[in-house]
Each structure stands twice: as C-alpha cells, then as structure tokens.
C-alpha cells in the first residue's frame, strides 16, 4: 500500500539502490548469517583471536631466542620437540591455551550471547521482529560454537606459521614412532583443532545458559570462566575421581591419541559424548529459562 509511493520517491532520489548485492538468503537463515557477520565484525572478537594467536608465536619466539635447548619433561609437553619440528609449536600452543586462554575467550563470547543483547536492549527488537526465541537461542549457540572453532584455528594456524618461520619443518614423527608426511601432519593439526573445538562446546552451552539468567554480560562471562577453572581444579583432586568423568574439562588435554598411528579415536568419542551431554542439559536449561523469560531490558 504505502510501499509504492515511497519506493517511487526513493528511486527518484537514489536510482542505484543496490541491486541485491550479496543479499542474504532471507527467511530463517538470514539471522544466522547476520549473527556470524556481527560476531566477526566486532573488534572484540578479533582482539580475542589475536590474543590467542599470540600464544604460540610467543612460545616460538621464546624457544628460538633462548640459548639453552628445552629439556624433555620441563615446561609444557612437546616443548622439547619444537626445535626438531616446527609443527609442534601449534600443539604446544594449544596445550598452553587450553586450561585458561581458550575457556576465557569462549566464556566471553558464550556469556555475551543473550545477556549482551539484553544489556544493549537489542534483544527486545530481535524478539519483536520476531526472531523467535528458540531460533534465536539456536543461532546464538551456533555463533558461539563457530567462535570455538575460530579460536582453536587461530592458535593452530598461528602455531603452524610460527613453526614454519622459526624452525625446520619436515615429516612428523608421531608418538607411536611412525613418521607421517608434511601434508598428513597438517591434517593431524586440523584434527586436533577439531578435538579442541568439540571440547569447548559444553562450556559454550553453559555460557549460553548463564547468559539467559542476567542482563549483565560481564556476569555471565565471569561465571562461565570461573566454572571452567573450578572444573579443572576438581579434575585435579584424586579424592574426587568418581566425579572426574563427568567434568566437562576432563578430556580437554587428551588429544595425544590423535598423534599416534593408527589414530585412536576413543578419547575423541568419549569427549564428544560428554560435550553432547552438557549441550543437551544446559541447552534445555537455557531453553526453559529463555522461552518463558520476561524481556524487561
């Protein structure tokens, strides 16, 4: 009705009104595309990724500049391998990042999902659009999961590049003693990145749930990060070993099996199952909370 008169006046004023350039697909998927665009257009996201990428680079530089050869058994695992094969920079970088840096960045993004929108007030406009509460929750979770992948890849990629720059890189000697080609070792690096990404999915679901509880994103972020530290502390107490298999952080560092020939997927499977369980439980909690929540911010 009103549309026609307006479009006429507009087309008169600006005839080149962008003919569907990179138009998002519309429908429900448009929100997912938008979510990922907004996430990766944010300076904060890039700051987090750069901070993560700096970890393996710092390791590589430190090892390179240090006069003494790293001794096996001191420092993070695989550190002594770095000088022989630069690809181990990526592995060492991941191991160093897993306990704190990765959960920290994932906590920031996952804790921000709903609470960040609520804090800005944009949540009410998304829901009035209407985005649909369940779909918004799903989109937000997918966004956090994609960030987990991006975060892990940032560490691995920066590690591989730093390894190529500072150390000799060649066929990789695995933990089982076998040697694999350079191209296959890149695949292994990606596989490890996948393992670590999956490891972080449970934490992301917890962050999403915390995020539905508050309109203060910092609160949800802090709670998520604190919980990841608490889980690792509990995991280190032998008195609580009955609890250990249920902690989302239990398999976080168990990707060494992926550096054997043939690859042992046992821990990968156990980890995926555990993370899936966390996703189900905290996804359901987030759903229960968010679908009935009064949006008053």
């Amino acid at each position: 009705m009103s549309d026609r008169t307006v479009s006429e006046s507009v087309s008169a004023a600006s005839p080149a009104a962008a003919p569907a350039e990179t138009a998002p697909p519309g429908g429900a998927w448009a929100l997912l595309v938008s979510e990922l665009t907004v996430l990766f257009r944010r300076r904060r996201t890039w700051a987090l990724l750069l901070a993560l990428a700096a970890v393996p680079v710092l390791i590589a530089v430190a090892v390179r500049l240090s006069s003494q050869e790293p001794t096996p058994g001191r420092g993070p695992p695989f550190l002594d391998q770095v000088t022989q094969n630069g690809l181990f920079v990526a592995v060492t970088g991941l191991i160093v990042s897993i306990p704190l840096f990765l959960p920290l960045t994932v906590g920031v993004v996952a804790g921000d999902t709903i609470a960040g929108e609520a804090g800005l007030g944009t949540l009410r406009y998304l829901l009035a659009a209407p985005a649909g509460r369940v779909w918004l929750l799903v989109v937000k979770y997918i966004g956090a999961a994609v960030f987990c992948l991006a975060a892990t890849l940032a560490v691995v990629t920066a590690g591989v590049l730093a390894g190529l720059a500072f150390f000799p890189v060649g066929p990789l000697t695995l933990l089982s003693g076998d040697t694999i080609s350079l191209s296959e070792s890149f695949l292994r690096a990606l596989l490890i990145a996948g393992y670590v990404t999956v490891s972080l999915l449970g934490l992301s679901a917890i962050g999403l749930f915390f995020s539905t509880l508050t309109v203060v994103p910092v609160g949800a972020m802090a709670a998520t990060i604190v919980l990841s530290v608490v889980a690792q502390v509990l995991d280190s107490l032998p008195q609580l070993d009955w609890l250990h298999p249920w902690l989302f952080s239990h398999y976080w560092l168990d990707f060494a099996d992926l550096l054997r020939q043939p690859i042992d997927f046992t821990s990968f499977g156990a980890n995926a199952l555990l993370q899936g369980g966390y996703l189900l439980v905290f996804g359901a909690l987030a759903y229960g909370r968010f679908v009935t929540k009064d949006i008053l911010s």
Partner: protein, 365 residues
C-alpha cells in the same frame, strides 16, 4: 482520518490484562480497545504501566492474567504471524554501537523471517530516507546523537509495510523540528491506513497527533475514547460577582450545583480578562478599595458538542433540559446578581489528565 477498514475492528484489544511483578501490580486489569486506522495516544505519567503494557502486547513479557489480541490474532499464541505486521519502538531505541545505522537496521530486518533478504538493502535505505538519516547511514551508531538514535529506532519500525505501529515515546530526545517531523510522519502513516499506537507522557504531542487516547494511572486505565470524548468531561461555568449567595441560589434554580471558590486561581482571572477584552478593568480602577469585593462562584456543567449547557446530574438537578450560556447570564442578572464576569471553562486534555492522574512530580508508586 479513518481509512476503509472494517468498522469496529480493533487493532489492539486487551481484556483484563494484568501484569504483576512479585507483589507489585504494574498493569491492573486494563481493557484497551484501539480501533483500526486510529492514531491512538497512550497517556500516563512515568511509571504508570505504559511500557509494561506494551511489552506484554508484543509478547516480550507474559501477562499474569488477561488476554491480548493484536490485529485480531491472540497474543502471544500467534506471535509469529502477527509481529511481522507490527513495527515497534519499545522503551527507546537500542542498537549495536559498533555497527553503522544501516547495518543495525539490516541486522534487525534479518531477524524477521517474513522480510525478504533480496530487498533488504533497498528497504533499509528507504526507511533511513524516510526519517532523514540517509547521510548518516554509514556512521557508527556510537557517533549518533540521541535524536538520531530515536529516528533510527523509528526507521526500524518502518522496515516493512506495517498494519500497526507501536511507538513508545517516539519524540523523546528530539528537537522541536524532529518532533514536528515525527508528527508529520505519523500523520502520513495514518493516512496510508496504518494504525499508530503512540505512548507518551506529553499531552501536547497526543493532542497534536491523535484521534483517540487512553489514560493510564498507577497501572489502571482511567479513561479512553476519542479525543473529543475525553475532553468533553466536566467543564465549569464561573461567575465573578460580589453577590455570591444570590448567584449560588440562581444557579441552583437552574439546576447547577454552584459553590464559592475560596481562592480564585490565576488562570480563571486571566481568561476572564481576555474574554472581556478590556485589560483596564482589573487595572487601576481600584475595585479592591472602592467596590465591594468580588468572588468567583463556579458550577460544574456538561458541555455537549451542540454548545448548549447541561447541568451535571448530582441528585439536586431539578431544572433539567439544556441551557444556553446567555440564558444563565440573563437569569443571574434577573436575580439581582451583579455579574462582573462570566466564563465558561472548557476541560483541556491536560485538566483531564491531571484530574485523573494527580498533580505533582510524585511517581504514584
């Protein structure tokens, strides 16, 4: 003003809508009826429950009890069907400060499944143009002024052709020019057949824009109807005379319940002077010394649109029927009352508002 929508259709209807937060009742059993095609002013002081009502209507918050239907569909059950036809500005605009104005609108538009992605950029540009933000489209919202954000918020409500617009305080933070533009925009939208529901605590705004209004106070809906119906409440006839007792008697004979005003307010005196058209009367003539002291005697009357005067039913009404103002004056003079001033005081929307919601700055709860 009324477009060709089926008469009697309601764009917004609430039945005994109630919203409680713990023990506090924010919205108390309100029955709103917003006709299709109207420009409906939703008035009330700060904290009277306007925004909460709007949140419940849009399905952002759940009603404690009662029902809401928007455009004939029940909410929140048919939310996914209804909301694409509703543009909303709720409790001020809110945006991603790190995105540009246009990117913000694209973001919100992508959340609407009914909005075609193909025309997104065009529609965003069009909405920005409509609120005069084309030049600032690429600027980050963090660099926007309050008024620009307000405009962007209105643009967000106009991304798709809407049947209903819900605008919560749309002129907040706008300069006088911006306010006029918003009024013009609302008028043009209404002219196209969109029902516009505007909440405001600014009476002038509502009087300028709206065909209908409702007044909220402390969570209750205290009045609603067309503007004329709302204004046509109690008016007062006021007589300035030294013969107060006689005047009261004559007015009582005419069926009016008159009383002596102890402290005549300044407004009445001013309008008296203006009506007389002779400012010299209360100037140097010195009626405080030479003449006997004046009193104001006033009586509530009903002012129907015919311009005739009918006494308010207060049990004592005996004369009945309708009187003209001139008849009252004639009766007063015939009764030996020295009429020094006669004034018919219409109820403005403001009087009505203050009468219904109370005076002063105190938030009711």
């Amino acid at each position: 003003m009324t477009p060709a929508t089926r008469a009697g259709d309601l764009a917004i209807e609430t039945r005994a809508l109630t919203k409680r937060f713990g023990r506090q009742i924010a919205v108390d059993a309100i029955d709103l009826a917003v006709p299709m095609g109207s420009v409906f002013g939703f008035l009330g002081p700060n904290g009277s429950g306007k925004t909460t009502s709007i949140r419940v209507m849009l399905g952002l918050a759940a009603a404690t009890s009662g029902e809401v239907s928007l455009l004939g569909e029940s909410m929140p059950g048919r939310l996914a069907r209804v909301l694409p036809q509703v543009g909303a500005l709720v409790e001020g605009p809110a945006f991603y400060p790190f995105l540009s104005g246009a990117a913000n609108l694209r973001r919100f538009d992508s959340a609407d499944r009914a909005a075609p992605g193909r025309s997104r950029r065009t529609r965003v540009d069009r909405a920005l143009e409509r609120v005069g933000l084309s030049n600032a489209a690429g600027k980050k919202v963090s660099a926007y002024s309050l008024g620009m954000k307000q405009r962007l918020g209105i643009a967000n409500a106009l991304l798709m052709p809407r049947r209903l617009l819900v605008l919560d305080e749309p002129t907040n933070g706008l300069d006088p020019q911006g306010t006029r533009e918003v009024r013009a925009l609302v008028r043009s939208l209404a002219g196209e057949g969109t029902t516009v529901f505007v909440s405001s605590h600014l009476l002038a705004e509502v009087e300028h824009m709206c065909t209908h209004a409702a007044i909220m106070s402390a969570g209750r809906l205290v009045a609603q109807g067309t503007l004329d119906e709302l204004r046509a409440g109690e008016s007062r006839v006021r007589v300035r005379t030294p013969d107060a007792a006689a005047a009261i008697r004559v007015l009582a004979d005419a069926g009016l319940v008159a009383e002596l005003e102890t402290a005549p307010d300044d407004r009445g005196a001013e309008s008296f002077t203006a009506a007389e058209g002779s400012p010299g009367v209360d100037g140097s003539s010195g009626w405080s010394s030479g003449r006997s002291a004046d009193h104001w005697v006033s009586a509530p009357i009903e002012l129907p649109r015919s311009g005739r005067v009918a006494p308010v039913e207060r049990g004592t009404s005996s004369a009945g029927g309708q009187l003209a103002e001139e008849d009252l004056v004639a009766a007063l003079v015939a009764g030996g009352v020295r009429v020094r001033g006669f004034h018919l005081q219409d109820t403005s929307l403001e009087d009505r508002f203050v009468a219904l919601t109370g005076e002063g700055f105190d938030v009711v709860r």
